[in-house]
């Protein structure tokens, strides 16, 4: 029997790598259509209020411009995500700064600049709410004083389920609700310790290299009616934009065509937002009767598009003095910004991940997503999990310090293992060995030796060193019944030359979709990797394999590609006698023979769970995810007490992600995620001024550079999962979850100070050290059960 080619698990060069390296790859702004115009967006300059008046100054000849207002929208004035609260263009009322009000287009891009300066909008301003706390206070004022002056959502007052200023709430119990409540009561009564903590995370910008951009076309019937629209651009989820366009234009799906072109990074920032810019460009194309390109520049992109949801997580935990968790309550609150967008699903993931990789005899998680007058927050790698995992992993260290145990002891007492059930009641059937993962990660990092050595060295140094870690998991794929609802479909064709082409709506944006799906097909079809091609994601050509989000591409879509490939082989073996263990030549010959006989050859596969998955959306219980990736991350830090700067000096990332499909790409995913996580923890702060992002340039939004990043050591354990192709699980988001809590735990180890709010900038460390009265910090022993975090967040002008 000839040796099967081992393509999965090897690291072939990326499918589109050559074109990118040679500069041949065409991004949206490299493209031009004949007679194309350029579009721009007129945005609100206030956070909340009624639009009183719009004036167009006489200096500009407005006849040359195409101007689109809300009243020009042929269908619904809405950007549909999960609800229909988000206007495509503000109509009389604005709910956040930088909200789109008008669209303009002109043949010359430079003309737009002058035009934008000559449109003046007056507002009757209303008071805004800019933090979770302000939004909650507004609800309190409504309830207690019937004062609705700061109820900012829903507008107009609709009957959405979350209620005033609240997009969505969840309540999740580790078992039957009533029994759990009784259990909790008993747990708190009998506990040796009750440990409370509050943990907060900030907004974060995705900072893809290529800003958002699209080109739209509109086609008319002979009667002058809009027949169809077509948008091409930089995006993750072409079918999301199709859905948005069908509402804005009142057209059926097949009249709204979307084509993804080469996309320069996304990180979730091009999941929901292209529905906005894509609809805008299409409206301008409709009215101007020209193709219209809109490309944001960095400042506009940073100020006007989505960020990661800021969060606050509160823990109250009953523990035995040996560290065993007896019960707990967790409250997770997200700041969703001005419209609901994807907040409810981000909240869902935050809720489910809030328990961490631990056994909770009794647990209640309550969560809510609040409205504020910030631009809507949206998808960003991790999607709620980094927020609530930050809470639980800081809290585990707090419990350890309160009990006088080590962070390691507390976690070892409570880790989930094979056969246990998660907080949602999901039995862990696949092998899970967090005990071993922890042992290995701490060894790789030299953790124990460092804890001892740093404790000595720190006594005599103004540079305080420390180590800390976080243990966590990330669910792969859509939550609960989500994958079944998505009902993803994949095609595999054989083209004229007898070689295959994969058709999916899954997109490449730098992470490796094209490469890994080709590996799966090549491996399964026993063909060289180079022979596999992918059709451009064009919704008029490819089937809907679902959005490229939620770490689902490798496991879910990969599995479908595997199944389609198997099906194709079976067809060829049955119909045209392709021999078993065929050669490439035999495959081509068989494929050509089939095509000669039947015309075309297409295999397809639709999602079916490989094992039964039970999920109860009402009770929020059951199998939350088809699979989980597991990890232990160890951070080493140095805090310079002269400059109060905390630097991550070494990072060890150990994860179990099933079969590693492409070691180079997998390592890249982890390194990139860790870098982003370090930025999240120590550098990247959104400075909001009345809801407007004041630091919307890369000079002042401090993303770490390579000179700020430590050596990142990436380690894998491989435990194959039945859900993914040849055992693969998801890896995309996982690396974003662990760095922030690991780093904060390390900083506490270094300084003796417990910081519970990120981003943690030198100014925050400085203020905290000042307030503690230790000019140079020191290894003081705080009472860890008392939260002394000052949360210095304000930046004065």
């Amino acid at each position: 029997m000839p040796q099967r080619n081992a393509i999965l698990g090897a690291s072939p060069i990326r499918k589109e790598g050559r074109a990118k390296v040679l500069g041949a790859a065409q991004y949206t702004d490299d493209l031009a259509l004949p007679d194309m115009w350029h579009g721009a967006t007129v945005r609100s300059t206030v956070a909340r209020g009624y639009i009183r008046n719009i004036t167009f100054a006489h200096e500009v000849n407005w006849d040359e411009f195409c101007i689109v207002r809300a009243s020009d929208i042929p269908g619904k004035n809405v950007i549909v995500h999960l609800m229909q609260d988000h206007p495509c263009l503000a109509n009389g009322y604005v709910n956040h700064p930088d909200e789109p009000i008008l669209l303009i287009a002109h043949p010359e891009k430079a003309a737009l600049l002058r035009a934008l300066k000559n449109i003046h909008i007056d507002y009757d301003e209303l008071p805004g709410v800019f933090t979770i706390e302000e939004s909650e206070a507004a609800v309190k004022a409504l309830v207690e004083k019937n004062d609705d002056s700061r109820i900012i959502w829903p507008t107009p007052k609709a009957d959405y389920e979350g209620g005033p200023n609240c997009f969505k709430t969840y309540e999740m119990y580790s078992g039957d609700a009533e029994k759990t409540e009784t259990g909790l009561e008993a747990a708190f009564e009998t506990a040796d310790f009750i440990v409370e903590g509050e943990y907060a995370t900030g907004a974060q910008e995705q900072l893809y290299i290529e800003n958002n951009g699209v080109i739209a076309e509109c086609f008319y019937t002979q009667q002058g009616e809009v027949e169809s629209v077509c948008v091409r651009g930089s995006m993750q989820c072409p079918f999301y934009l199709v859905h948005a366009l069908t509402l804005v234009f009142g057209l059926p799906d097949d009249k709204c065509r979307v084509i993804q072109v080469e996309t320069g990074g996304a990180f979730g920032g091009k999941e929901d937002f292209p529905s906005v810019i894509g609809s805008h460009a299409a409206l301008l194309a409709m009215k101007s009767k020209h193709p219209v390109k809109i490309i944001y520049d960095r400042a506009e992109d940073m100020a006007g598009t989505t960020k990661r949801h800021p969060s606050r997580t509160r823990h109250r935990t009953a523990v035995r003095k040996d560290g065993t968790l007896l019960g707990g309550t967790i409250e997770v609150t997200l700041d969703g910004g001005a419209y609901a967008t994807l907040s409810s699903t981000v909240l869902s993931r935050a809720t489910i991940h809030a328990s961490g990789p631990y056994k909770w005899p009794h647990l209640r998680v309550r969560s809510k997503a609040m409205a504020t007058n910030l631009p809507p927050h949206g998808a960003f790698r991790g999607f709620g999990a980094p927020q609530s995992l930050f809470g639980v992993e800081r809290h585990m260290d707090r419990i350890a310090h309160t009990l006088g145990l080590t962070p390691e002891e507390v976690r070892r007492k409570n880790f989930l293992g094979t056969g246990d059930t998660t907080a949602t009641g999901q039995p862990l059937v696949d092998k899970v060995d967090m005990q071993h993962m922890l042992t290995r990660a701490l060894n790789e990092a030299g953790y124990h030796e460092k804890v001892a050595r740093f404790a000595e060295e720190n006594k005599h140094s103004l540079i305080k060193r420390g180590v800390g870690f976080a243990a966590f998991m990330h669910g792969t794929g859509f939550t609960g019944s989500g994958e079944r609802r998505l009902n993803s479909l994949v095609y595999l064709d054989v083209l004229e030359d007898g070689l295959p082409q994969i058709l999916v709506s899954s997109t490449e944006f730098g992470q490796g979709t094209n490469t890994i799906l080709s590996q799966v097909a090549a491996q399964t079809l026993n063909l060289p990797y180079e022979d596999i091609r992918l059709a451009q994601p064009d919704t008029s050509v490819v089937p809907n394999s679902g959005p490229t989000v939620a770490s689902r591409t490798a496991m879910i879509v990969g599995k479908l590609v595997e199944r389609a490939s198997l099906q194709m082989l079976e067809t060829l073996r049955l119909q045209v006698h392709l021999p078993a263990d065929h050669t490439r030549e035999e495959f081509i010959a068989a494929a050509k023979a089939y095509r000669a006989q039947y015309g075309t050859l297409r295999a397809s596969a639709r999602y079916e769970p490989p094992a039964p998955i039970f999920w109860d959306d009402e009770k929020y219980r059951g199998d939350a995810y088809p699979g989980y990736a597991w990890a232990v991350y160890v951070a080493e830090v140095a805090v310079d007490m002269r400059t109060y700067m905390a630097t991550c000096t070494r990072f060890d990332a150990l994860q179990e992600v099933g079969k590693v499909m492409h070691p180079v790409l997998a390592k890249g995913q982890v390194e990139g995620g860790v870098a982003q996580g370090i930025g999240y923890a120590l550098y990247e702060k959104c400075v909001w001024k009345d809801g407007h992002l004041a630091n919307n340039q890369m000079t002042n939004y401090i993303m770490p550079t390579s000179a700020d990043l430590p050596p990142i050591h990436v380690h894998f354990e491989e435990v194959p999962s039945i859900h993914g192709p040849m055992g693969a699980k998801g890896i995309g988001e996982l690396p974003m979850d662990g760095p922030a809590p690991a780093i904060m735990n390390a900083i506490e180890n270094a300084t003796g100070i417990s910081f519970c709010t990120i981003p943690l900038l030198p100014e925050d460390i400085f203020e905290r050290v000042q307030s503690l009265g230790h000019p140079h910090g020191g290894t003081e022993d705080l009472d860890p059960s008392v939260d002394r975090d000052t949360r210095v967040e304000e930046v004065s002008a």
Binding site: A110, L113, R114, D297, A299, R642, T643, Y644, M645, Y683, V687, A694, N695, Q697, M698, T699, N700, I702, P704, T705, S706, A707, D708, P762, E763, F766, E767, Q770, V795, S796, A797
Partner: protein, 291 residues
């Protein structure tokens, strides 16, 4: 891009004389552009006021490093990369090399000039603290002649310099008298590269029999312009570093520095942080001298 480039003129006169002539003919109408690493940012952000730019980047007359009369002369068109590669500067002015090395990125250093760095007159710029500590002088030229002044008098206020509209910065001169001085510089930026200073301190001093002499301190972001910390220098002049006096010397120096600090809260940091860290850097310098 928030500017319409068609609204700008750019000319590259063949010689320094030609540039000066044009500046003199229509004072205030033209602005010199050297590496453009400041001006292009302003152009992109739509806040470049001048519409007519005269390039001086190609003028060899402004790009030189030479030692003459116990002075090191640096042409205003010298790039950060030139500075980093110069053996003369490395030998005599290590603080300047250090500050050039952490300015922006390699690409910035290849284009950006020391003249642009000081004429742009940002209080946070990287080379001024070193030049201030080294007691530099500067020569300004115009069609009607040239004048030389102490660099410390060049900065008049926030982004205000002694340059007249018809003048260019020609060169910078540093006396080569620091062979026996102890030297210190530290930048506290927002990150380790591509960072604007939150605070920076450059210091030189002589130590004679445990006493300080000829102390010179230059700082960034301590006030609205790059400054010499003369009150602190005065306190430190003759101060003792002996172990029984060191703590008092540090205390007095920190107090003096705090007295001449007028730091601000801005998008990058806070006044409180800047003030405290400036004191910590000064203390670090003094302890290194005593140690």
């Amino acid at each position: 891009m928030h500017s319409d480039v068609t609204q700008f003129d750019l000319a590259a006169p063949p010689s320094l004389q030609a540039v000066l002539k044009q500046l003199a003919a229509e004072p205030g109408k033209h602005a010199p552009i050297a590496g453009g690493t400041e001006m292009m940012v302003a152009l992109g952000a739509g806040r470049l006021q001048q519409r007519s730019l005269l390039s001086i980047q190609h003028l060899r007359e402004l790009r030189f490093i030479r030692v003459e009369d116990r002075l090191l002369h640096i042409g205003s068109g010298t790039t950060f990369t030139d500075i980093r590669r110069s053996a003369e500067i490395a030998k005599h002015l290590p603080l300047l090399v250090q500050s050039a090395s952490w300015t922006g990125s390699v690409a910035n250093q290849n284009r950006g000039t020391i003249g642009g760095n000081i004429c742009n007159a940002s209080p946070a710029a990287d080379t001024p603290p070193a030049l201030l500590a080294y007691g530099a002088t500067v020569t300004l030229v115009s069609a009607s002649g040239e004048r030389t002044m102490r660099y410390v008098d060049f900065h008049l206020g926030y982004k205000k310099t002694a340059l007249r509209p018809d003048e260019l910065l020609h060169s910078i001169h540093v006396p080569l008298v620091f062979g026996d001085h102890r030297q210190y510089i530290r930048k506290v930026g927002t990150r380790n590269a591509q960072a604007i200073s939150k605070i920076a301190l450059a210091a030189v001093a002589k130590v004679e029999e445990q006493r300080l002499a000829d102390v010179r301190l230059g700082a960034a972001s301590l006030t609205d312009r790059p400054v010499r910390c003369s009150a602190t220098e005065a306190v430190l002049s003759g101060a003792s570093l002996a172990s029984d006096a060191l703590e008092e010397t540090i205390r007095l120096a920190r107090a003096a520095l705090a007295g001449e600090t007028h730091a601000i809260d801005d998008i990058r940091s806070t006044a409180r942080y800047r003030g405290a860290v400036a004191g910590n850097l000064l203390e670090e310098f003094l302890r290194s001298l005593a140690g």
